[in-house]
């Protein structure tokens, strides 16, 4: 039984990288605006369909299609924020959550109207081979997913820590009011972060469509797993989202193999519920101070 452990971990990390990327893209929006975007999964889905249209419909090569889709989703995210979220920013959380959820529903409904419920396949731009390292199989899917997410994480890290823009973003993450005081246009900043989150999500959607499946419901499926990853790593922490995603991916594989495959589907739900009940600050966060 233990002999398959490395194999499970490799597969778990690859899936986990996907969760990590999507959780990270949600965390970017959450940190910037303190809003949990309940429609984010559907942006991921929309990104995946955009790539499908660009590659299968317009016959573009994969990488340009990916860039185009990310750009398109940036605009979509930015537009959603400007048109729907910004007018109600000061409103109750319920309105914010419902607005995002409803906007996501519109996207999902549109996708279903156009493509129906059947699952589509996104043609892989690479050969579907695998390599054997000792006893462990590395599929090309695993390598591409892990590699792509790692590259993105590296790029993001560099942007955040080495560029002036990154310093500003970090400053705003620390204090919204402070940002407004030093003359940052908070609305524009929020819009750009919604766009960035959506663009990152689109890349996640592309990887998901490549290696798992493409259907109108992948957004919801992803959303719940991204929530679990964020909860596990501590809501609002960028690094926590990544680690939480990877942990969730590995946990799914381990539970699926050693307990029952039935549990793969619910690992995320159980994790979310248990962590929020027992340790709301996540595995790595410190408890927030209570205020009256």
């Amino acid at each position: 039984m233990l002999i398959v452990l490395p194999q499970l971990i490799v597969g778990g990390i690859a899936t986990g990288m996907l969760y990590a990327l999507i959780a990270l893209s949600m965390t970017v929006v959450y940190r910037a605006t303190t809003i949990v975007n309940f429609g984010h999964g559907d942006l991921v889905m929309a990104g995946a369909y955009a790539i499908f249209v660009f590659t299968a419909g317009l016959a573009l090569p994969f990488l340009p299609a990916l860039l185009l889709a990310a750009g398109l989703l940036f605009l979509l995210g930015f537009g959603l924020h400007r048109l729907l979220m910004q007018p109600i920013m000061s409103g109750p959380h319920l309105s914010l959550a419902m607005m995002a959820l409803a906007a996501g529903n519109v996207l999902r409904g549109a996708a279903r109207l156009e493509w129906g419920n059947e699952t589509l396949a996104l043609a892989r731009p690479y050969a579907q081979t695998s390599f054997l390292l000792g006893q462990t199989v590395f599929t090309m899917d695993d390598i591409v997913t892990t590699g792509a997410v790692l590259l993105l994480l590296l790029a993001l890290f560099c942007v955040l820590h080495l560029t002036p823009a990154g310093k500003i973003i970090q400053a705003v993450f620390q204090s919204q009011r402070g940002a407004a005081l030093v003359g940052i246009n908070v609305n524009a900043f929020h819009g750009v972060m919604w766009g960035t989150g959506a663009a990152l999500g689109a890349i996640g959607g592309a990887l998901l469509a490549l290696t798992v499946t493409l259907s109108p419901d992948i957004g919801v499926w992803t959303l719940l797993r991204a929530f679990a990853a964020m909860t596990l790593g501590g809501f609002g922490s960028l690094g926590g989202a990544v680690i939480g995603g990877i942990l969730l991916g590995v946990m799914e594989k381990l539970l699926g193999f050693y307990v029952s495959t039935a549990f793969i589907d619910i690992t995320a739900y159980v994790v979310t519920i248990l962590v929020l009940l027992v340790r709301p600050q996540g595995l790595f966060g410190r408890p927030a101070a209570r205020r009256i």
Binding site: I35, V36, F38, L84, P87, I88, G91, H93, L94, S95, A97, M98, M99, L101, A102, A103, G104, N105, V106, L107, R108, G109, A110, A111, R112, L113, E114, G116, N117, P216, V220, L224, F227, A228, T231, F235, A262, D265, I266, A268, Y269, V270, T272, I273, L276, L277, P280, I292
Partner: protein
């Protein structure tokens, strides 16, 4: 004193409206009658949901779970134990209430807002997974056929007959919830929504009212689930997915949050219209999504706020008088 008694009398008059509905069946064909019955199912569902979201102010997405638990409780008790449908109503309500009590636990532990939403969303999906996995009870993903129903031996063989029973149940839940909201209990819900610290400073035991609010909501929605089971005659896990959640949200948001009138109005508008488009996959999601977006932007207090301008009877009031 005369002026104080007036709203009460006006409310009584308002209750004549369902009585007028009694004469409705002869004018409707089979399908229209089904749609009317579906509206009646969604009245308790909306009323219960609105209590938690609108009155108690909690961002809980667990309503579809209460609905499914009520529906499956009723279906399973009929199919496996051979209970008559009417006898499954109390257990369906009680199971819903227990689920409600369970859903209030995170709120008691201080989980609020987005976190509560995420958590209750996971709870709903967990329940849907259970319907699929508990195959011996629920029939798994293929679903279960619900036996034909009767009320004390009177078979609910036609949509007409269901209509009269459903009307009575829907009216009962509305009246009971109305009484609840017009008492110190309803005021406690509103106080907790607005400011928990101030509510406690009034001597309101906030924890107890969290449990009570969720449990009452679960009870009422569970009854709605049992009605749903006999109306559609077939339960499958797909009936309790996220599209259903959006439909239920559309009911309370379009109708009007924290408004009993709104719940009823929302059930009518949201349940009746999209049936026309039920055959186009995706259309419901699109319409409900758009409706919610528009309501939040342009009519944040829902259709009920328009009615309230017309007549004070539709205004929410949290005392008896």
């Amino acid at each position: 004193m005369a002026s104080e008694a007036a709203p009460r009398r006006a409310r009584r008059r308002f209750l004549l409206l369902p009585a007028l509905l009694l004469a409705l069946p002869p004018f409707l064909d089979q399908y229209q009658q089904y749609v009317v019955n579906l509206v009646l199912v969604y009245i308790p569902v909306g009323v219960g949901f609105n209590l938690v979201v609108g009155n108690l102010g909690q961002l809980a997405f667990s309503n579809v779970a209460f609905f499914g638990i009520g529906a499956y409780t009723s279906g399973i008790l009929m199919l496996k134990l051979g209970l008559p449908w009417w006898a499954t109503l109390p257990p369906a309500g009680i199971m819903g209430a227990l689920a409600g009590g369970a859903a209030s636990v995170p709120a008691l532990r201080g989980v609020r807002s987005f976190y509560l939403a995420v958590m209750t969303l996971a709870f709903g999906e967990l329940m849907r997974w259970s319907y699929i996995r508990l195959e011996s009870l629920t029939g798994g993903s293929m679903g279960m056929a619900v036996p034909s129903a009767d009320v004390f031996g009177w078979a609910l063989a036609t949509e007409w007959r269901k209509f009269y029973v459903f009307l009575a149940l829907a009216a009962a839940t509305v009246i009971a919830t109305d009484r609840l909201l017009r008492s110190r209990i309803g005021r406690a819900f509103m106080a907790i929504k607005d400011n928990e610290t101030a509510a406690a400073a009034m001597g309101i035991a906030t924890s107890g009212y969290f449990v009570l609010g969720f449990a009452w909501s679960g009870f009422v929605v569970g009854i709605g689930g049992a009605m749903f089971a006999v109306l559609v005659g077939h339960l499958s896990p797909d009936s309790f997915d996220l599209i259903e959640l959006i439909l239920q949200f559309a009911i309370i948001m379009v109708g009007g949050l924290a408004s009993l009138t709104g719940s009823v109005l929302g059930a009518v508008v949201i349940t009746a219209t999209p049936q026309i488009f039920a055959n186009f996959p995706g259309f419901q999601e699109l319409i409900f999504g758009l409706l919610i977006v528009l309501v939040i932007l342009f009519l944040p207090r829902g259709l009920a706020s328009l009615l309230a301008r017309l007549h004070p009877v539709f205004r929410d009031q949290y005392y008896d008088g």
